[in-house]
């Protein structure tokens, strides 16, 4: 699902599409209207065109789309969280983020330090073991 603004844009475009389509379709498939007092061939009146009642369908579609547009407009944020408030919160968040980054870096350096010492100790232990083994094989 796209974000609300894109949905709103799509709904507006859809409304325009419905307008065009409804007028076009109704114009295309409308039965020809009779002239007043000109009864040329009265028997040739259009015999029950299977009225699929596009007019009603389109009316429903258009009203539903317009209602959707209204709902989407309502869901937009109001002017309270204005520019200044946003910029202020962005600045505050940036400061907090940098603080967190500093803490993270500190903790990681502690860990790195500990790791270095453990590795040093392991190295010493390994060397002693090697020397002891060497001295054992000497004798």
């Amino acid at each position: 699902m796209a974000d609300r603004l894109t949905q709103l844009q799509d709904a507006v475009n859809q409304l325009a599409d419905h307008f065009c389509n409804s007028i076009g379709v109704l114009q295309q498939c409308s039965p020809p209207s009779k002239f007043e007092g000109f009864d040329k061939q009265p028997g040739k009146s259009p015999s029950e065109v299977p009225q699929e009642d596009y007019a009603l369908t389109f009316a429903k579609l258009i009203s539903r789309t317009a209602k959707d547009v209204d709902t989407l407009i309502d869901s937009l944020p109001s002017e309270e969280s204005s520019l200044k408030v946003q910029l202020e919160s962005l600045r505050r968040l940036e400061a907090e983020n940098q603080e967190e980054a500093r803490k993270l870096e500190e903790v990681v350096s502690h860990g790195q330090h500990l790791l270095d010492r453990v590795q040093e100790a392991l190295r010493d232990i390994a060397q002693c073991q090697l020397r002891c083994q060497a001295m054992e094989t000497d004798t």
């Binding site: 709103l8 507006v12 407009i73 002017e79 946003q86 903790v107």
Partner: protein
């Protein structure tokens, strides 16, 4: 990476058909970016950002306009007052659009060829353009909100990571301390190994003397120790 998978899909499809899906790269430029050119610094620099107007696909663009939110009064008549509430204006526009559509249908029924029709179409056009303009004015706000949400999430993640790392670190420290405490404290060696330690200390002094005279790399020192021990 999503780009890569789309590219491989298109490429495999094109390979199946035997023709390349993409245009060839501009060989004149590509050949200038060889490895040694880049190393020597003679590969051409990226083009500088464009300062003033440029045309793209026939339409002209201004690089130094406030492209994010250009004023409405640049092209069209303005229908809403100077200080407006976006939501209220949007709703009024929505209703105006519907009313105008009904008027249009009326005109089409009664007098389809009159000039009123074109006027009404112009009105509808203007109303729709207004609507999209007001929607676009929300976009920078949305961008800032997205940024704010992203930063908050990043801050939470960082706090989480550092907390987890700290707990792990403490666990590791505890582990080391318990294992140190549980080391055998009794020094009851037998005499053979005591002699060996004297030898060991003597060789260590010898090595220490060497180390003072000549600073060498620690890795080399280790290697020498190992080799001395084995040989």
């Amino acid at each position: 990476m999503p780009q890569r998978t789309e590219k491989t899909k298109a490429v495999t499809m094109a390979e199946n058909q035997g023709v390349s899906a993409f245009p060839l790269p501009p060989s004149k430029y590509v050949n200038m970016y060889t490895d040694e050119n880049v190393k020597r610094g003679r590969a051409p620099l990226p083009p500088p950002p464009i300062q003033d107007t440029y045309t793209m696909f026939g339409a002209q663009f201004n690089a130094d306009d406030a492209i994010i939110r250009p004023l409405e009064s640049q092209g069209f008549r303005r229908l809403h007052p100077q200080n407006y509430d976006h939501k209220r204006e949007l709703k009024k526009l929505n209703h105006s659009i519907l009313v105008n559509f009904l008027d249009l249908i009326d005109i089409l029924i009664k007098a389809p060829d009159s000039t009123k029709r074109t006027e009404k179409l112009e009105d509808l056009n203007l109303l729709f353009i207004h609507m999209h303009h007001l929607i676009n004015e929300f976009r920078p706000h949305q961008a800032r909100e997205t940024l704010r949400v992203m930063m908050e999430r990043q801050k939470k993640e960082r706090a989480q990571i550092s907390k987890n790392f700290e707990t792990h670190l403490n666990k590791v420290k505890e582990l080391i301390q318990t294992s140190l405490q549980s080391l055998p404290e009794d020094f009851s060696f037998d005499s053979k190994s005591l002699v060996k330690t004297e030898l060991l200390q003597a060789s260590q002094h010898h090595n220490g003397y060497d180390m003072e005279t000549e600073p060498c790399d620690q890795l080399d020192r280790m290697m020498c120790d190992i080799v001395d021990g084995m040989g």
